[in-house]
């Protein structure tokens, strides 16, 4: 009975932490009730595991602790389930997410369950160590839970494109059929009608990396596709199925490392366009840090 209070507080704290992290990613993943139900339940299991560890250790039930750790390894499944779902939905996207982005999202969803376990474990330890009465204990648990959730989600918060690069509007132009931004050729648009759409409604942006690390990160193909997908998702794209001329394109200038994005947005709003690019997450799998290597430092 003495453990009930401990278990309930810690599980609730872990569950609430998972709920908080679910609310933060509405843009990254379409929110839908079934998805919420799945992730909240898995998060609840994680929170319960974190909460049970402390009483199990106190009761010297080390076999139980081993089993709990074994159970935690089941969360790896979450990643493959997310990956399968997103890959299955990929064919329904006008602008593809790309495998790198899917992998990134799947990894985040797996990691958040571990964060829920950490929060509930921390709260369980606090609840056990605090000698005061029930209300004092509750207050301490809330504080520890909040601090832990804030700390972990801060640590897990990745960069956005706006943090590693300058984003500015650029002018798109045609050299006969070649669509160019500055001197970089993005594609060959054969039909005059399509060129007219680009001249009238098209927007182009230049993404200038802030330093060699950012340059190497932005050179990742998955990151380039993620920019095209996310910007289209945020501001909408002016195209229909099969209109390959209007698929948003990201191309790289090999000499400067700058990226160029050209697209025809559904609404002509340059500020929203630039803001959307700045807010695209930098994929964890795309991050490169050549400056941490000896050879990379010699080049800088």
């Amino acid at each position: 009975m003495s453990h009930i209070f401990n278990l309930v507080t810690a599980t609730t704290a872990g569950f609430l932490a998972r709920l908080y992290m679910l609310r933060r990613d509405y843009r990254q993943y379409p929110s839908y009730p079934q998805g919420w139900a799945i992730h909240l339940f898995v998060g609840f299991i994680g929170a319960a595991i974190g909460a049970v560890i402390v009483p199990a250790v106190i009761e010297k039930e080390y076999a139980a602790v081993s089993f709990l750790i074994l159970a935690a390894s089941q969360f790896r499944e979450v990643r493959s389930v997310e990956r399968d779902t997103l890959e299955a939905m990929e064919s329904t996207e006008l602008v593809k997410r790309g495998t790198a982005y899917i992998e990134g999202i799947a990894r985040v969803f797996e990691a958040r369950n571990y964060l829920a376990i950490w929060v509930s474990l921390a709260v369980a330890v606090a609840a056990r160590l605090w000698p005061g009465g029930v209300f004092g204990n509750l207050a301490v648990c809330s504080l520890v839970g909040l601090a832990m959730a804030a700390l972990l989600s801060r640590l897990m918060h990745g960069d956005r494109v706006g943090d590693i690069a300058e984003v500015e509007l650029a002018e798109l132009q045609f050299d006969q059929a070649l669509l160019k931004v500055e001197d970089t050729v993005l594609m060959n648009v054969g039909l005059e009608t399509a060129r007219a759409v680009y001249r009238e409604r098209g927007l182009a942006a230049k993404i200038i990396p802030k330093g060699p690390n950012a340059k190497a990160t932005l050179a990742n193909l998955g990151q380039m596709q993620a920019i095209a997908h996310d910007v289209s998702a945020m501001i909408g794209v002016y195209m229909d199925v099969g209109e390959q001329e209007f698929i948003p394109l990201v191309r790289r200038n090999p000499s400067s490392g700058c990226l160029y994005l050209v697209m025809v947005p559904s609404e002509d709003d340059p500020d929203a366009f630039l803001t959307a690019i700045r807010r695209v997450p930098v994929l964890e799998g795309a991050v490169r840090k050549p400056l941490t290597s000896v050879a990379g430092k010699m080049l800088d």
């Binding site: 006969q176 060959n188 054969g190 009608t193």
Partner: protein, 44 residues
């Protein structure tokens, strides 16, 4: 001229664009201009 791609002849620029547009719509493909009077239709 070689390769297996079908070739469509047109009587003028206007007909050429018309045929290219129709084919691109039917095939879900993109039209590219080779700058020598030839349009090539590619499904990417």
């Amino acid at each position: 001229m070689g390769g297996g791609a079908p070739i469509f002849y047109a009587r003028g620029a206007e007909e050429q664009y018309e045929v290219a547009l129709l084919l691109a719509k039917v095939l879900g493909a993109a039209v590219h201009d080779l700058h020598n009077g030839v349009l090539v239709i590619v499904r990417h």
